[in-house]
Symmetry: C2
Subunit: 222 residues, 2 copies
DNA sequence: TGTACATCAGTGAACGCGCGTTCACTGATGTAC
DNA sequence: TGTACATCAGTGAACGCGCGTTCACTGATGTAC
């Protein structure tokens, strides 16, 4: 089973999710294709395993980075986690694409993927929540400044998310966090998917500037 | 030829890029698969046509939105273009995924796609450049405030981009634009690719808040 | 200690499928003299 | 006005391929009495 997953991961890394096939995995493992069905109900289930693994891997990396940076400032912690996620994405582009890229056609993510999917997000939210409860989030003039800047529907979404994550975060702060969070993944995706090819060459520098910028935008102190 | 592209687009919309096949297109058109080769050298060329069309479509939509909002404030123009891009993405999710999602495995984008790919970006940059040359960009305290906040490598990338686009933009301002730009596409991708499923339900409201937030961040006045 | 039996990993053949691409061809339409 | 010829859109068969999945099976390993 471990070998199967390892080989599937290898093929994912080499060719991408679309090219992942039960037969190729079996071939590489020196067995007949039907033998794989002893371990896995279908190709989709194999894909699900890989998706969960990928979320766990990036979640692990994020948690590890936060732990290492735990004594530093909130802004430094956010940047450290961001950099760790980016490094992981660059090292594992197909795994990144599998979970943060376009959905695999015809594949519907089962419930088992939900929990691992939230791991990296939880790490980022925890940084902001900690800073907030330590009273160190700076107020500034870039909206949403406070909860009155948010329409009711969005405000209730954000309140529900905060409750779900057990974080005591005002919706406006969580909104800024979500915006910074999507900025981060947007930038990684642009870099990885080639959108900035021929234009940006110093991606790491841009990423660092973006992290500094976005932490200031959220209100995390340096 | 027009019918061929139309049918290919229809299949792309229905099933996604991975499922797009020469044979299926031919079948739908009531002809034999080999007939398609009279119009198109290979499946990859067909894909390239669709990619160019998609970039042109979203570019067109962005340009149109800017034109309609041309008398409004820079911030309102940015938001209008953003909303237009998001609307287009929601209406054409597979086309969006084709150009802004994970790259199609085994497909290498040819040179012909470069020019159309820059169209939406150019619209956004133009808004900022206009505001800048009108002297209406607000300075603020979120880095990068000025060019000294940028490392040399990134600064030269950004200078080159400004020159390329014929825009007179200081690197720091272009950096903020790029960050806001990737925020916007990150948010659209998260929404479209299901990353915020079960958490955010009022995507449009979040998007509008993000646009307001990011224009303030760039320094565009409302 | 030895035997009968169950479990389990993996085999091999087959199913029906769709794919991209090549190739020699047909028959209708248009053009030149 | 009529005929010979070229162009062109599309045909039909074939190539070789890889895929997911099912099914009855074999043979080794482990377990119970």
């Amino acid at each position: 089973m471990a070998e199967l997953k390892a080989e599937a991961r290898r093929q994912l890394a080499a060719e991408g999710a679309a090219a992942l096939s039960v037969r190729a995995v079996a071939r590489q493992l020196g067995m007949v294709s039907s033998a794989v069905y002893r371990y896995v109900r279908s190709r989709d289930e194999l894909l699900t395993l890989l998706i969960i693994d990928a979320y766990d891997a990036v979640g692990e990396v994020a948690e590890q980075a936060l732990h290492t940076a735990r004594r530093r400032s909130p802004a430094a912690r956010w940047a450290a986690v961001g950099r760790a996620i980016r490094d992981w994405a660059i090292a594992n582009p197909h795994e990144y694409a599998l979970i943060y890229g376009s959905p695999v056609p015809g594949y519907a993510a089962p419930v088992d993927t939900i929990a691992p999917a939230t791991r990296p997000t939880q790490v980022l939210v925890a940084i902001v929540a900690d800073a907030q409860s330590a009273g160190s989030v700076t107020s500034h003039d870039v909206r949403p400044v406070d909860d009155r800047d948010l329409p009711a529907g969005l405000r209730s979404d954000l309140t529900a998310i905060a409750t779900e994550l057990g974080a005591d975060l005002p919706p406006s702060l969580l909104a800024r966090t979500a915006i910074a969070w999507s900025q981060m993944f947007g930038l990684i995706s642009f870099e990885l998917f080639g959108q900035t090819r021929n234009a940006i060459h110093h991606h790491e520098q841009l990423f660092d500037v973006a992290m500094a910028s976005m932490t200031a935008y959220i209100g995390l102190h340096a």
